[in-house]
């Protein structure tokens, strides 16, 4: 076998192995998307009921709460960025990071200081590499987030917002995550979580056109709101984590699918080149033989004379 042919054969073998791996990763990601989507659906009843309850307290009482009162001049904001722990997901992480950077730039242009909180090793690595300050970060659960994880993330954020701005607290909380629109579309979006505008929450639920009854609060509207709002924030963060996980798996699936397709194309073109090289080798051998016989024939013909 010629040297060139050997090189082609080796490359085909290695690309085939890579293709097998990417194909397996694609299938794993595909099954995880379904699982993650199921989790998003499973968490929906809780979120809906909670939203209803928040709306009920918000509209049924004139309670003032640090989580709902807008600071007159917001001077510091917190941005929570949700990324994944692992890469191999196309532009998933860079899109989320880009969206966070855009939001940060906008907030800074408004004259606010920005505290960054990050979920996921990828986002953290990006910020650490650029030596940007990260207040707190979490990782290790982005593939399958549980409610307890969402709680862990929410606790310091709620603490920060309840603190006075002068003591290092924040006035606003924004969250940047990747929304799972469909299997093919995932968009990085930012939304303001806090202070909660009860009108907005009411709008979300008003689609059902229901009139909320006058509730009897147990023990009191303030206490209910005190307990309700942190849960609401946790549930929103949980939802964002789940959507981000589903989006990550979908992005991985797509990236791995195109990697598999590319490997297939590469194998085709490499085998073509290998075939051409083999043919060239054969042609060369034939012409060598023919040349050899001709030379031999010429020599014998000469000696006969």
């Amino acid at each position: 076998m010629g040297a060139q042919l050997r090189v082609y054969k080796r490359r085909i073998k290695s690309v085939t192995a890579t293709k097998k791996i990417t194909k397996a990763m694609e299938m794993i990601a595909a099954s995880r998307v379904v699982k993650a989507q199921r989790k998003v659906t499973a968490s929906a009843p809780y979120a809906t009921e909670l939203t209803r309850a928040v709306t009920a307290v918000g509209t049924g009482s004139n309670t003032q709460h640090p989580l709902t009162t807008e600071a007159e001049t917001a001077t510091r904001s917190a941005v929570l960025l949700l990324t994944s722990d692992r890469g191999l997901a196309g532009a998933f992480n860079s899109n989320a990071i880009k969206a966070a950077e855009k939001l940060t730039a906008r907030l800074e242009a408004e004259g606010k200081e920005v505290d960054t909180y990050i979920v996921g090793r990828r986002g953290l690595a990006h910020y650490n590499f650029r030596e940007r300050k990260v207040v707190e970060s979490w990782s290790g659960f982005t593939d399958q987030p549980s409610y307890a994880d969402a709680k862990n993330v929410a606790v310091p954020l709620i603490e920060a917002i309840e603190k006075e701005t002068a003591d290092g607290g924040v006035d606003e909380l924004h969250i940047v995550y990747t929304e799972f629109v469909s299997m093919m579309t995932q968009t990085a979006i930012d939304s303001r979580l806090l202070p909660l505008s009860l009108e907005e929450v009411a709008e979300e639920t008003s689609s059902k056109d229901e009139i909320l009854p006058l509730y009897d609060f147990e023990p009191s509207a303030e206490d209910v709101l005190d307990a309700l709002l942190p849960r609401y924030v946790e549930s929103r963060i949980y939802n964002a984590l789940l959507q981000s996980a589903a989006s990550k798996h979908a992005a991985t699936r797509r990236a791995m699918k195109s990697a598999t397709d590319n490997a297939g194309d590469l194998i085709t073109s490499l085998s073509r080149s290998a075939n051409a090289a083999r043919q060239a080798e054969i042609t060369q051998e034939i012409s060598e033989i023919v040349g050899g016989t001709a030379a031999l024939a010429d020599a014998t013909a000469g000696s006969d004379r």
Partner: protein, 124 residues
Amino acid sequence: MAAELHVELVAADRSVWSGEATLVVARTTSGDIGVMPGHQPLLGVLESGPVTIRTSDGGTVVAAVHGGFISFADNKLSLLAEIAELSDEIDVQRAERALERAKSDADASAERRADVRMRAVSAH
């Protein structure tokens, strides 16, 4: 037929139980509260404790609920809990072990959680 109310018991990550009931007893921060059909609209904060649901077919469903809310309106009752387990889902041995461990670690909240689980099982 007695009047009924619709109950939805949902945990943060799943829907635990839903169905028709005649009476629901839950523990709020200001004491145990019983809700029957036609109760006035109510929104309360739950303490961790067992919730008893008397179903319309005469059965009883007991669940261990750890923190959350109860809301009632239009004969629909929602129990929202961060963690909720039906009594038949609770692993008694595991809860016992957790209780022992919590006692030795002096972890009050874990002890309370395990205790609620045990009581939910024994109430069943």
